[in-house]
Amino acid sequence: MASEDNRVPEGSNLPDKMVIDKMVIDKGDTTYRIISKSVTEYHFIVPFDLPDEERIEVGQIFSIKDKSLTFLARVLNMEHSSNYDGHWDTTLKGTEFYDADQIFNRVIAEPLGCVSTQGGFRKSRTLPTKFAPVTRAKKDEFEFLKKVMGDIEIGYLRNGSRVVEEIPVALHSEAMDHHMGVFATTGMGKSNFMKVFAASCMRLAARGESKFGLLIVDPHGEYLKGKKDAKGLMHLTRYRSGLACYSTDRKNASDPGVEELAISESEVRPEDIALLYEWSPPQRDALDAISRIFSSSNWLEEIQSNEGLARMMQEGFKDTTVLVLVRRIRNVLEANKYIQKRSSLENIITNLQSGKVVLVDIPRMSDRSELFLLSIISRYILEAYKKEDQECRKNCLITIEEAQRVLGEGSNTSRFETIAREGRKFGVGLCAITQQPKLIDKLLLSQFNTLVVMGLGDKNDRRQLEESAKQDLSSLDIEIQTLEKGEAIVSTLNIPFPVPAIIHRYEDYLRILGKEEKDESLVRRGGFKPFLE
């Protein structure tokens, strides 16, 4: 109890009211501000309980405005975090969090670069000021991307799961002879991507703007007229003139726009047979000797005759060795009925060189037959393009499905490796499509300058790509794992960072291309707008 004599008497020299130098910590805006960490990694925090529509996703792009620069950063990961130490969150009872400002999610983002007030984009060599505000990047902040996009539209920019329809993603024709890889597990939309890609190429060809011819060999019969509800390339009637079709299927070939595929016997070489089988050393020797012993134009017939067998034996080959060769050659000829006296190859080359999309439809053919045909056509193309450069000739891109068969380590298909290594010199590029990039030779993969990655679950596949890609994909590991069907990461030299994209749905793209104004440049007017129709 206060004793009365302890009190200061009224009126005595009571000091003026002492002023306390108070410091008030109030609800500051601690979230959505850069808090760390370096030039190569940004951290900021966001509320732990964001509503669904504001959730942060891997791959989402944020902008950080800092004086005259706008930094762009892509979310790589998020972590639960708090200002509390220790294992408080595993020992607590109940879920009634009171202090939302103390519990948050830490967002880890990778800098993409920075945009100056003049709109120029460059890689960032500095870091944003601490506590610089972070916001979701808006469409106008991606405008600079329009300037670096190419002419082959494939989809839209994607910001997390959100589509940025104002920014079409388009590959550069000029990069196609630097090879392209399309990587995705089954069902992620490889075929849809290829049809969209081919449709854009057809459009360019029909408008006389094409810079390369595209060869697609389709063993599944899905590109020509489509399958079930999916449409094919022939459905793009508006730009049909940009497509040349060849088919081994009589019914398909009865269509006036489709030529029945034929390869002349004289165009088949022993090395085309060689890549189809495993050979013993004597058999390999015998194969190598064929072109020396027989005429190049008639060797297929000659070797199957009794005289042919005798000539081979005269050269020292055992009859059993030669008979294996002959039996295998007969099998190949039996399985590939398109080997005839006439040939479509000359036409194919002409169409490619004029910049068209050439679709070779070989439904119901075996893997081996497909490989055989691809080998013959590729060799023919490479030889044609090795000849003296013609002024008006367009470059060529050869598509290989299940590319690991021919570009894998130790595969005996040196032809495709040669194209991968040397094709660029002659204007020939490869478009390798595979579910298993881990099986593709790492050195060959490093030659691929354009990568379209559409979801890879296997970490060995991702690692192989990351180690070989020209742009750094290692930080995108989580995003690649979490890509949904139709989503892709597009990495190409002409675009300054790997771009997240949503690939157009082919049927939507067809519909809009069909209505396109004749001379309007699709990319220039901001891509098509399927969702706005």
Partner: protein, 339 residues
């Protein structure tokens, strides 16, 4: 040398201290009964909760005086929403019994109209505790000025304080009563004890008894007329043992000034509604926040110590002089780094 059976004896004693053997014995010896327990119905309210706390860290000491970093303030909540934390004092305090009245008196006069207190004979360590408590009371006073009738003002600690500052509390109680603000002191630890032969922990054992009798619900029990060793026990109010959340095993000592006697149940109901956070279940959340925002971390202490060395060095003191002055010989024996 410690014999094994000696340790066993001590362990048995500890067991007797910790465990509540039988509730009947506890009730018989403390005069508590089941009817003394009152179940709390947590009740939301529109008012604010002000939670006051303080912290002090020794910076250095030289046998006859010492230097402490002291901080005091309060956190403000509206329901479950933290509004702000106000730091009312954040400074060093030089504890020298001869001169420290100069540090106390201006505050006592300015805020409480008191003449000052004689601390010449006080223990050195206790001086900084007194000063921290004084700053906490000033924080209480500041919070009280900001509060409105019906608000809750809670303090981290008891009101059963030593004589020198009792007058200050008396004035705070009076101001709180006049303003219609409910003031409660909540102690995380308590020396309340019971038992004839040995000192048994009263709060823990009451908590255990409450859990057995009223599982899963919050409750409180008043200690008026109970056989509990209150220590000094001379202050103007009542002490309660309170479990704020049914799902928590923890009970706390709660001191309430006498003016709250008529509506202690209402005050505790309102506080219990905001003592259910996951961050610190069963403890008033505002106090949890106040503790975290106001505490002085070891890092801050080290930083202040370093700055002090720099200032002393600028004044021409050598490190060797500083060491000689400030190092406790125990530190030398223990090979601890000193100032």
């Amino acid at each position: 040398m410690l014999r094994e059976n000696r340790l066993k004896v001590v362990a048995e004693l500890m067991r007797d201290h910790i465990s509540l053997g039988g509730i009947e014995l506890f009730f018989r010896e403390t005069q508590l009964c089941e009817e003394d327990f009152t179940v709390i119905e947590p009740q939301d309210f529109d008012g604010r909760i002000y939670a006051v706390d303080g912290s002090n860290v020794a910076i250095c000491s030289w046998s006859v005086a010492n230097l402490n970093l002291i901080r005091a303030g309060y956190a403000v909540y509206q329901g479950r929403e933290w509004q702000k934390t106000v730091i009312t004092y954040d400074d060093v305090f030089l504890a020298d019994p001869r001169i420290c009245s100069e540090e106390f008196d201006p505050y006592l006069k300015a805020f409480f109209g008191l003449k000052g207190i004689d601390l010449k004979d006080s223990d050195l360590d206790r001086l900084s505790t007194y000063f921290r408590e004084l700053q906490e009371y000033i924080a209480l006073n500041e919070a009280l000025e900001e509060a409105h009738a019906g608000d809750l003002l809670i303090y981290d600690g008891g009101f059963d304080v030593f004589e020198p500052l009792r007058s200050v509390l008396h004035i705070i109680f009076k101001r709180a009563e006049e303003k219609g603000v409910d003031l409660l002191g909540i102690s995380k630890s308590s020396s309340l004890s019971w038992g004839k032969d040995i000192s048994l922990p009263f709060v823990q054992h009451t908590g255990r008894a409450g859990t057995l009798l009223f599982p899963g619900v919050p409750w409180y029990v008043g200690l008026k007329d109970k056989l509990v060793d209150h220590g000094q026990g001379r202050w103007e109010g009542e002490t309660y043992i309170v479990r704020f959340a049914g799902r928590s095993d923890l009970a706390f000592r709660v001191d309430a000034p006498a003016y709250l006697a008529g509506h202690i149940g209402s005050a505790l109901s309102r506080l219990a509604a905001y003592s259910r956070s996951s961050e610190c279940l069963g403890y008033p959340h505002a106090l949890f926040r106040a503790h975290r925002d106001i505490r002085i971390t070891n890092q801050e202490g080290s930083f202040m110590r370093q700055k002090l060395i720099e200032v002393l060095a600028e004044m021409g003191l050598s490190h060797s002089q500083m060491r000689t002055l400030t190092q406790d010989f125990h530190d030398i024996l223990e090979m601890r780094p000193g100032i």
